[in-house]
Symmetry: C2
Subunit: 318 residues, 2 copies
């Protein structure tokens, strides 16, 4: 297939590009480098099956030639208020990527009779009152809240995707992506894994907030990409959660990271914050298992081990 | 003020135009007549303070001269699956009006330093699990459901409005409109009041589904418009419910309509349907009362009395 990936220079988009190229497909990458980085696709520069367009998908998406599939991964996604490329600091661009970007992709999919796959997110569940989250759960999102620029953009994108499927018969799929980590992730993402792994590699004590008993679930990027590709090849139109359902306490996360990195500086406990990492989210992956025969295979120790070289390089430790 | 009203030829937009012209403002109407009708604004043709542009606000909204306020009321809104201009049959246009239309309005408001008022809806609460609905309730909307084309478009519009307020300091307001009736409403709207009033005026027995004990709240259009205009003049940025909180059983509605119209054909009971009128929605109007000093003043009997002449004309009974 000849596959267009928006956000191809991002964390997930670049891994998807790698995977689909390895599967023998031709990949057309598109990115405006607002949140993605040329570094993430530099290794593909010599590949004859990879081409690239620097472009804002909210404005213009047309590419010459036949397109067989479009994967829409372009969007700011970091919830870190300090990140210049996070959605708090790019609220309107984030909403445009979800609305105009998705609309442009669906229009192209329609005229090209191409498959369309939307990267949605566990954020559409908001601050969930149901655990773990099943795909039929309607979520708990305040449309006027500051996070809504991301949450409602993705909810809108899902609705528009279903409308094109129902009304124009476009072959669409929707993946709801849960917390993911691995090489090429943004070190300033602001979430637990990059924060803790940075500290560990710098030989600092790991900061755990509160008593460390709050839980998180994280999926290694290779597992996630395997699930997305299975969904791409499927005929499933309703959303499918892809993520790692193994829930661990933050304390256990920190201990595991210290163990894998050999960091002996220990752990310090600080007062619980309210602004960041507020939600407990855990995917129910029954549908992914039943429909796609997918489940994550890489445990936290192995995932952290595979992530370390990238972090060391970014931190100038090699 | 010089006020741009999108959807000015619609049920609510045309009443708003009347009210604001009577208040001494200049009104610029805009409509593409997909759901609105030239009949609704025909009486304004001679007014020197009213001008009109036939235009799709999802495409282009610029008008010459200074604009002091923009009221975005353009959108399909009928939930009747049989209505050609309802949102079920215009899913993508509905989503465009909510996303692109709102974006165009906010962009114009920003460059003109104009007030922006968004017509949102009780539909953003979806199938509510909280009664009555307060503005802080996050709602119960499945983004992949068939109604989501309207619900998520309006949720997105609210989020984008708040983003422009927070990020670009645009002076914005959001009204969440509950069920409304009155002259110029769509007789094929598919909801209870037009259905029952049509039957009554034609001397037919009124159809009540189930045992008639299910409840509804309806607001007369003059009350609604008064509330919206008060919100327009306010500095309130968070959403405000405007609607009539008086809940009545469908049986009581039907009996009132028969009484006011003098219809002696009685009432027939039919099996409850599932597809239409599924939700019970009732506004909590505490915020409207406290912030705007607003409450509805016209009861059902009076409202129906004022609506009858329009229905008679449309039904060819005069």
């Amino acid at each position: 297939m000849r596959i267009l990936i928006t956000g191809a220079a991002g964390f997930l988009g670049s891994h998807l590009s790698d995977h689909l190229l390895a599967d023998g497909h031709e990949v057309i990458g598109m990115d405006n480098f607002v949140t993605g980085s040329p570094d993430n696709i530099a290794h593909l520069a010599g590949s004859e099956n990879f081409s690239f367009y620097k472009r804002d998908v909210s404005n213009y998406i047309f590419v010459p030639g036949k397109v067989d599939a479009i994967l829409h991964f372009a969007s700011p996604a970091s919830p870190n208020p300090q990140s210049k490329s996070g959605f708090f600091n790019l609220p309107i661009q984030t909403m445009k990527a979800g609305a105009l970007g998705t609309h442009n992709c669906l229009g192209l999919a329609r005229v090209q009779n191409a498959k369309f796959l939307l990267a949605s997110t566990s954020e559409i569940y908001g601050d969930p009152e149901v655990h773990p989250q099943v795909e039929t759960y309607a979520g708990n999102v305040d449309p006027t809240g500051t996070r809504a620029v991301y949450d409602e953009a993705k909810r809108f994108a899902e609705s528009l995707t279903m409308a094109y499927h129902r009304f124009h018969n476009v072959n669409t799929s929707i993946v709801r992506i849960f917390n993911t980590y691995g090489p090429r992730m943004d070190l300033e993402d602001g979430r637990a894994i990059p924060n803790l792994l940075k500290q560990a590699l710098l030989g600092q004590p790991l900061t755990v907030y509160g008593d460390g008993q709050q839980t998180r679930s994280f999926c290694f990027v290779d597992d996630l990409v395997n699930g997305i590709v299975k969904l791409l090849y499927s005929e499933e139109h309703f959303p499918v959660n892809i993520g790692n359902p193994v829930e661990m306490s933050m304390l256990h996360f920190a201990e595991t990271i210290n163990k894998v990195t050999g960091n002996t500086a220990g752990i310090v406990f600080e007062d619980a914050r309210s602004a960041r990492d507020p939600q407990r989210r855990q995917p129910d992956i029954t549908r992914a298992h039943d429909i796609l025969n997918w489940e994550p295979k890489i445990d936290l120790e192995e995932g952290v081990r595979r992530t370390i070289p990238f972090f060391k390089e970014k931190l100038g430790l090699v």
